[in-house]
Amino acid sequence: MDRAPHQNRPAVIDIHDVTVAYHRKPVLWDIDLAIAEPSLVAVLGPNGAGKSTLVKAVLGLVPLVSGEVKVLGERISRERKLIGYVPQRESVDWDFPVTVLDVVLMGTYGRLGWFRRPGKSERQSAMECLERVGLAPLAHQQIGQLSGGQQQRAFLARALAQDAVLYFMDEPMAGVDAATERVIFGLLRELHSLGKTVVVVHHDLRTVPTYFDDVILLNRRLVAYGKVETTFTTENLRKTYGGQLAALEIAAEAVQASARE
């Protein structure tokens, strides 16, 4: 990608006054946020803070009550080909009769457009994406035979096949094994080094400083957005999680202790 600095290059994402409501209750309220430069961003917040909704609102998967979203200065409907998406793993039926390769090929559909079927070159690039996530040997398996972490990696490979400039990932690290987590973080770094922006809905606060440059702290309202060093602070986390943070830690420890028994 062209990384030459432009004088007035448009922001990668510009979220302006976005409100999303479900049965009149705001899930996101007046979110104003611009990601100016390509970066690796974690979206953090307690359960029900609207983290996934933020991603879905940007992608147009949920209707906005008000506001607008621009990607690279254009309305999102015109820039779909630049956007890669990794939905939550639970969002699809893994008993669906398709192979792992079929799923990854779906990443190329946007480029192909109407009616055209994926051909040899699409297959080849899909296989390369599978190799990058370490699933090439499983390409012809039905997707239901994959483990949870492998399913997540298949989704990741599909997003890679989109060959996008901007990626949204909805909890890619939820319930995956250590190997998958390593693969995912390796890819995040790689994508970032290629000048791409990756926005990741994330729940594990411990790994944030290791893997991300920027954080978006969300609790229906935007609490803070900025560099990890300056924004990922106890003060901001308390504002985001309220009294819950302490409770959250205790709960997490209790769960771990009971799992060990």
Binding site: K56, L59, R80, P87, D93, F96, F115, R117, P118, R158
Partner: protein, 410 residues
Amino acid sequence: MLDYNTAVVLVGVTALAVTSGVVGTFLVLRRRALAGDALAHASLPGLVGAFLLFERRDLYLLLSGALISALLGIAVIAALRRYTRIKEDAAIGIVLSVFFGAGIVLSRLAQNRTTAGSKAGLDSFLLGKTAGMIYQDALIIVILSLVTLGIVFVLFKELKLVTFDPGFAIAQGWPTLGLDLMILSLVAVNVMIGLPAVGVVLVAALLILPAVSARFWTERLDTMILLAAGFGAIIGITGTFLSASFDRFPAGPVIILTGSFVLGISMLAAPRRGLVVQVIRDYRFRKEIECRALLEEIYEFAEQRSWPTKEQVLHRSGERAALRRLIHQGLVREMGNDHLELTTPGMRRAESVVLGSRLWKMFLDTHPDLAGSLVDLSHESVDEILPPDTVRELNELVRLQGRWPSLSAR
């Protein structure tokens, strides 16, 4: 010999059933199987209403009325879901029963107003009547079927994506709602042309049965669609002949019973997903696990003391059966005074079983976080599942604890 009328019906019903199988596949995979049923039931008030309004029994007039009220039914389902807190399954249930109830009441009204001949005509729409199908009807069914199949073929990629992952499809810029509506309209048209032959009550089963049957035989969408079409053809042909020979029964139930026979066979006999194979596989697996457990027990007994007597290792009847198998396989032999001993191949096998089980248990102890998703009893050895460095680490730990199985070396 095939007479002309039967041939016409045969072509019509078969084309109908083939197309139903194809569009039904998308409906079933999208978990919308009940939408077809709602469409069919919701068509009744429109069908009867058209008759009451125009007082004519023109088939295409009636079917147009049916299509209008069916689409209205679907719109009501969508509206209930969107604007109230009623969930989709309840919304489908409401529309299906309310529209059908209204249709029945209207048809009694029609009976009171008209002559006996006309009312019999309306009643046949409930349970279907293939005998009335004429050349022109069959021709229209065939044309609409070809159009439907053509659309599915051209849009195969798009429909596959929208059915598998609608969220991703929207994010990629596909008009998911439009494609969904298109599939529903194909279903609606299919239901309408099926109404006279199969009837309001059962026409939706023609969408579901071939698709669900096909799913048992394959893990590929394209194969599943071809199979569903094939099963549709079988159901159409067999159903037509059966309903022709049992004149006293309405056609719908006869055709659908044929379909349920296809489903029954698929459910039982399919090679990987079928019940018979599953039961056999479970049975074999249980036997295998029991044999492994007994080998392990004999081995560990010998490790600590000496070769055990039967009494010392056999506690349940399942274990006696396992022992017979092991002896039959030449892995264990009976010595005098009721003692059991591992043969040379038995020793090799037992050592591999014991090592596998100790490595797995070590993995459970050292990686409790991953154990749940990775441990798999069908794999005796850890090598195939865990990464090599983990396997090395586990081997080391088992050695350190002095638990490496080494009885054969003594």
